[in-house]
């Protein structure tokens, strides 16, 4: 089978401000576990897309 393709945004830039100083980076939802995606679902439609993509296209659920 050809490589399945994601056609939605999977990366979200973030800025964390904490006592050690700022940190900025990119959150890649394809690297998250299913549990982490579930926590993100109410905030980001893309988290649901990623979960469905794994379950219905890749058939490879990722667990913690």
């Amino acid at each position: 089978m050809e490589k399945a393709e994601r056609n939605y945004v999977t990366k979200f830039p973030y800025l964390i401000d904490n006592e050690d100083g700022p940190e900025d980076g990119v959150l890649d939802i394809t690297k998250l576990s299913d549990d982490e995606l579930l926590d993100l679902i109410p905030a980001l439609p893309e988290a649901t897309k990623e979960l469905y993509f794994r379950q219905y296209i890749l058939s490879e659920p990722k667990d913690n």
Binding site: F12, L27, F53, I57
Partner: protein, 403 residues
């Protein structure tokens, strides 16, 4: 899951046959897999006491009319038998309603009169709003999956009559997955008349829906912050969501590992977030009382007098980041606004290290300088002429709106 695995297998066999392997063995495996696929649908229908309908399968360039008729015959027989329920015992709609009610019960509780008395015009959203969001996201995701099936499954697509059923079942499945997680991820929102939102997550360590990620005092500080912003920059057209997060919800991966001591974070497309653990982040007020603001050496651009002001500084700092995302960019990965802000810093001659220094934190980058200077301006009204020019360039001064 099995259903989609079979689709993958079928695609492989189909390719083998179309590539020239027309042996009886391969053809029989193909037929067997097709039969398994229909059998899986029949089994699922029986298991759930749902009426089974034989798929509308047609000759596909490999199977001829006779072979298709043979393939479907046992299923047509079952379909027309008394064994096949006339109507579904429990419909998928009944199931989703049940699951929605379960999840709704786990949504945090908030006192409506407390919300109504907050500064500004705030309203408590309904418990169902959280479920509605999940449904909206699920439908968006289902549509994406259905649209990309032909590409990802080598030409296979979901028959039109099954698309709606797929959407419903994917939503039900998401509700099932979400329900045990409800203590972690549910939230309730309060929204003001401008669309600004304060989102409160349920505390995952508690079984009570009243135990949420912020105290009433925290929520009031956030409402005060929005009121101050309105006083300073007028009614902004791009509402912001401030989420009070708990230590183990919403914050994934790299961010999560910092959440124990992280005070706030923002992500493009996701809004401002504050971790309001007053036990961990308590400010030594007696120390602060003696500290004087120094733009070069103070950690922050404003010396708060107590915990509430410290929290407010953090909230406004994060809203500053979100305003950069929204006013200088498009609040997404493609355009966070960072580049445009950097260019404007050059254009307006803002030097974070020397002439326009704002705090030690603000020395780290122009993005942090902006959030710090923004926070200082909102809380005290103090800003350099260069910074005011920068805000003016995006219509972020109250005087621009009030004539």
């Amino acid at each position: 899951m099995e259903y989609f695995k079979l689709l993958g297998q079928l695609k492989t066999r189909r390719k083998q046959i179309l590539d020239g392997d027309n042996s009886d063995g391969t053809r029989n495996e193909y037929k067997k897999d097709l039969s398994k696929l229909i059998q899986a649908q029949k089994d699922a229908a029986r298991r759930n006491a749902i009426r089974f309908k034989t798929p509308n399968y047609r000759p596909d360039g490999i199977l001829n009319d006779r072979e298709v008729a043979e393939l479907l015959q046992p299923y047509r027989q079952y379909e027309n038998s008394d064994e096949n329920p006339r109507t579904s015992g429990i419909s998928i709609d009944d199931t989703t309603s049940f699951l929605e009610r379960q999840l709704e019960m786990a949504v945090p509780e908030l006192d409506e009169s407390f919300v109504a008395n907050l500064p500004g015009k705030w309203k408590l959203t309904s418990r169902y709003a959280y479920i509605g969001r999940i449904k909206y996201h699920s439908n968006l995701a289902s549509d994406t999956i259905v649209e990309t099936l032909p590409k990802n499954m080598g030409g296979w697509s979901l028959p039109a009559e099954q698309t709606e059923l797929f959407k419903k079942s994917a939503y039900a499945r998401l509700l099932i997955l979400s329900t045990p997680k409800a203590k972690v991820s549910t939230y309730r929102e309060i929204v003001d008349d401008r669309g600004n939102t304060i989102r409160l997550y349920r505390n995952p360590r508690s079984s009570s829906p009243r135990n949420i990620s912020a105290t009433e005092k925290d929520i009031k500080v956030a409402a005060d912050a929005f009121a101050l912003i309105k006083d300073r920059i007028g009614s902004d057209k791009k509402p912001v969501t401030v989420s009070f997060v708990t230590s183990s919800s919403i914050v994934p991966g790299r961010v999560k590992s910092k959440s124990g001591k992280s005070l706030g974070f923002a992500f493009a497309g996701g809004g401002a977030h504050v971790f309001a653990d007053r036990n961990k982040n308590r400010v030594g007020t007696e120390v602060l009382a003696t500290e004087k603001y120094d733009p070069q050496s103070s950690w922050h651009s404003y010396i708060p007098k107590d915990d509430d002001e410290y929290m407010m500084h953090t909230i406004i700092h994060e809203i500053g980041h979100v305003h950069m995302y929204k006013y200088w960019g498009q609040d997404n990965i493609l355009n966070t606004g960072r580049e445009a802000l950097e260019n404007d810093y050059k254009k307006f001659g803002i030097d974070r290290l020397r002439a326009n220094a704002i705090s030690r934190y603000g020395r780290e980058s122009n993005v942090e300088h902006f959030a710090e200077a923004y926070s200082r301006y909102i809380m005290t009204g103090d800003a350099t002429p260069e910074f005011l020019d920068l805000l003016r360039s995006k219509g972020l001064l109250k005087s621009q709106k009030d004539g």
